[in-house]
Symmetry: C2
Subunit: 322 residues, 2 copies
């Protein structure tokens, strides 16, 4: 049987008129992959429309776009829909879900349990990012990995691998970065754009949260707390909390880092991070949440002190830290 | 003429009894290179002694050592001395400087202006780290890049390139990481060890410094201040301030980030960081300091407010921010 990447290449070459979409609240991989796919279609001389129900987050306003990314679907939908980095079909957004032609979906993803909702499904969980899959597709289609295409692929892969530091990093993804660098990618400039995105307000927020990290279970559990009051006082939003948990887990003694973030009255979202064999997915599932072994989250409906106590007790019991 | 790497390979193969040294206050590259060279000599069945006048910093206590790293020189010095990552000869430490056999120094370095103080000098400023040079040497000597050797080389290269994010990152260094990963290097575990080194005290220090960053010149200059009083109150030392300046320069509006750190009465060390064409080396040199275009430092003898004003004025004038 023809491999998915060959099938997709054949469709991209022989057909025309594509909608490219990734999940709402796009991260670097979703956004980078969307634009990278657009650059490929542009190089092939195809008609295409880029779409994301949440649009481009401000922190990625520098992304090299081959066309505007629409937040409203056009009246007439393109013939084919390329769905990127969506582990479940509904991640493409409600309106598109209703209107999409089910028989012409190309599903490119690296999430476990994708469900193969497309007409063609290329799902590879060993890939560190969808961006690295788009790079393989470009090579298959003989579109060179240079210019805007290289920038978008780098954004996707670098952000999804924590700058090549996570266990998901593959030799191929490092070689991909090497190839793009050799062909002129300005790595330093890209990294400046990706990291130099802080407001004074966010720095104050982080400072407050870091000053008040609480330690439990002989310092092996760390909990940072973010209330609506802190958001209001520092002039920040939940978007400013991204990655703060990775900072908290730098504490040498800590095996599980947690963030509790107030969502509403007596309602707290939590995130958990661990290393190696410490499984925080199981802990999150006790509260109806989910995620991966070393990164999970969920919601607890309780006043702050009680929510914190419930969470710490669950962590302590699960990891037998008593 | 025989290339330096061939000359060094020949000496390592045919001779015996080596001292391996890097600069005092070793960073990840200095320490990783020292241990990597030890692993190579061990694989070659040679006698060797590892030495560093400052010893192993606590944050690198996980480093895979092929032998203890001595902080005192033995009575009888080894025949050959391999000097790593020392841009100037005196960086190897005073005692060794006095006693070393000048005719048997092997100098391996990537600093501009090294001065070729060795009998054999392999100085290559295009290399992102001395660690990547040691990797080339291992390949030349047919020592496989696995186990402890790979860990030490990764430590050296990853820390000196800011995890492959600085402009100094080369395609070859990314390919080197790919090769070591393919041969079994546990990237995630290494990165956990490198980053998971924080004390509660350091988190409090960072929180305090971040809460008090001052902005000048229409927010294009940011200054963080660290006094002896903050060190005492938070129970930290200057080692805990490493990298905090890179955090401050994440502010979107900022072109030059600065840290002023109290060294003694009316005496402040400063560090400067910039991006692209903004040259902070020239600014540092006005105060008798030095460094590179985007990273420099020096000392100002004045009370805090005056020191800050002098520094900000110099930055503002140099970058024409008025």
């Amino acid at each position: 049987m023809e491999s998915p990447i060959k099938q997709i290449s054949r469709v991209l070459r022989s057909e025309d008129d594509f909608l490219v979409v990734s999940h709402y609240n796009p991260d670097g991989d979703a956004l980078g992959s969307t634009c990278a796919m657009g650059h490929i279609l542009k190089a092939l001389g195809k008609q295409f429309t880029l779409y994301n129900t949440s649009g481009v987050p401000q922190r990625y306003d520098f992304v090299n776009k081959p066309a505007e990314i629409l937040t409203e679907l056009p009246e007439r939908l393109p013939k084919w829909t390329i769905v990127l980095d969506c582990g479940a079909k509904d991640r493409m957004g409600d309106e598109l879900m209703k209107r999409v032609d089910q028989t012409r979906i190309i599903d490119i993803d690296h999430h476990l349990g994708n469900g193969d909702y497309g007409e063609i499904n290329w799902v590879d969980v060993r890939q560190p990012a969808v961006g690295s899959m788009i790079a393989e597709l470009a090579t298959e289609l003989e579109v060179p990995l240079i210019g805007g295409l290289a920038e978008c692929i780098y954004l996707a892969v670098a952000t999804d691998t924590g700058f090549f530091s996570y266990g998901s990093t593959t030799p191929e993804s490092l070689e991909l970065a090497a190839t793009m660098l050799r062909h002129g990618l300005d790595l330093a400039r890209m990294n400046e754009r990706i990291t130099k995105q802080w407001s004074e307000e966010r720095m104050r927020l982080w400072s407050e949260v870091m000053s008040d990290v609480q330690l439990f279970a002989d310092k092996r559990v760390a909990v940072g707390t973010i209330t609506q009051e802190i958001f209001e006082r520092t002039g920040t939003t939940s978007g400013d909390t991204e990655n703060i948990i990775n900072f908290i887990r730098r504490l040498k003694s800590v095996r599980v880092a947690a963030i509790l973030r107030e969502e509403g009255e007596n309602c707290y979202k939590f995130s958990l991070r661990s290393y190696g064999n410490d499984n925080v997915q199981e802990i999150a599932s006790q509260f109806g949440g989910g995620g991966h072994k070393n990164a999970s989250g969920g919601t607890i409906e309780a006043p702050l002190d009680e929510a914190r106590e419930l969470l710490v007790s669950a962590i302590t019991a699960a990891l037998e830290l008593d």
